[in-house]
Amino acid sequence: MQHGKYRFIVGFLVVPLVLYAVFVIWPFIQAIYYSFTDWTGLSPDFKMVGFDNYTRMLKDDIFWKSLQHSVLLVLLLPLVTLGLALFFAFMLNVGGRRRKNAAVSGVRGSSFYKIAYFFPQVLSIVIVALLFQFAFNPRSGMLNSALEGIGLGSIQPDWLGDPSLALVCVMSVLIWSTVGFFVVLFSAGMASIPKDFYEAALLDGASRVTTFFKITLPLLWDTVQSGWVYMGILALGVEAFTAVQVMTVGPGGPDYATTVLPLYVYQTAFRDGQAGYATTIGVGLLIITMAFAAIVMRLGRRERLEF
């Protein structure tokens, strides 16, 4: 059995490890190094500048604006998305008419709802963003012409062009595309909760709202928590970047109204030719992502319920 074991291990690990090291690990290490240089990314020359980039970042208005938007997304996106998903999943699993011998039951057609809700999840965020860019079009988009159609033609918001609305529009698109995923996920969790828990609670006269907060939510807490981390990373990462870059105009929306940290990293590196400074902002983004995950894990720690 031992014969050739190490040769086999090395043989199987070497290709994946080399690929991973060259394209993932090495660039990450380099990024931290570059964040201390004045590298433009255009020429091979650069010198170490110590913490100059970091002090510059702390004085950079656009950095603070991006950070503010990213933090707003991290706080609001999970709250609204997970809240909606829990609500829908509870409706799907408990909202049904009572049948014989069952304390709670799902609504009719719940599998149809799950199929429909989940669909945006498989679509590319680019397609979703382009679709909604047109829906939000102020002149002939879906929304404003619908407003006109129901006699509210006087209200014609400029949606993505309005600095105070643009970020809300981007957020609603991200929510639209992710809620279904969590509905399915939470539904699966709720379906595995034993029915007698509900039966006992309802016999004791508990309302369904009470059963939700006293039974469903505590038993689902682990799933909710990993969903929270997932949504936060989404809000700080590629999805938010893509939605903002594709949907809003100019340098991160009108008057930087929708710019987010990953977008600012991208623009600083590839538009402004300041690769060194861009990686500094990237390190800032990394720290915030890690801090977010750590906080959620810590806040979310509860006694584990087994059933």
Binding site: I25, V107, L123
Partner: protein
Amino acid sequence: MKATDTPPVVTVKEPAPVSKAPAPGDKEKSSEGKVLNVFSHGVLIIWAILVVMPLLWAIMASFKTDDSILSTPWALPDKLHFENWSRAWSQAHMSDYFLNTILVVGGSLIGTLLLGSMAAYVLARFDFPGNRFVYYMFIGGMSFPIILALVPLFFVMNNMGLLNTRHGLILVYIAYSLPFTVFFLTSFFRTLPSSVAEAAMLDGASHTRTFFQVMLPMAKPGLISVGIFNFLGQWNQYLLPTVLNTDPKYRVLSQGLVELANGQGYKGDWSGLFAGLVMAMLPVLAAYIIFQRQVVAGLTAGAVK
């Protein structure tokens, strides 16, 4: 809106109206159930409409003329303008984008599954110094923001002559898919019984042969789940190709669509854009409807554990 907003339930429970006589002793609960049922159906239908409407609307728009998209956005097409589709397919290069995407995703998917399962198998079933270190190095990649690595990655690729090539993109896709793939498959290989592998070894099969002929076929359900996850992720990839693949010849679908949309801003070929969008949506829509159960299982598998 949160789960606390369920006023109908609360208000109706108090007076407990007796209209028809349901099962004795159950009047209160039953009427609560009825109102709740109506309420939940209402809410659920509204969200279903919100989800389906934009998609139906895009399909409709792809068959209309530019004029009617702009002047009467909600009207049905006067006739099915298939020329939008052929225009998008050939003139707007959707066919090229499709081909590039299929080649890149096909190569990446095979590479990801092969290399991911090899690494995961070794990490799951063999004890050797550094096993934990390698494992956590792979897993760590899941929480890093890709965007941070992108600037140096651009230059790594540039130095290796991999910028603006399909195979370069394939290698990068594989590398960035490895963390989740290894994470998922490692726990999967741990659940497989070791007796079968041991029997094969006793019969004289080498480690390599045991892996390819015994373990890999047994891991099929896991490979399908993680394969679907990676397929969708790689098919929908936008950021990596945008930065690493700027040659118009090698554009993938997502890049092509953004290009089409930006270009159309000036030319105003809205119907062509919608035809392109729907075209890009169709394969995923079809795959989702046919393999609905596997897709859901594949995508949710990682989030639960």
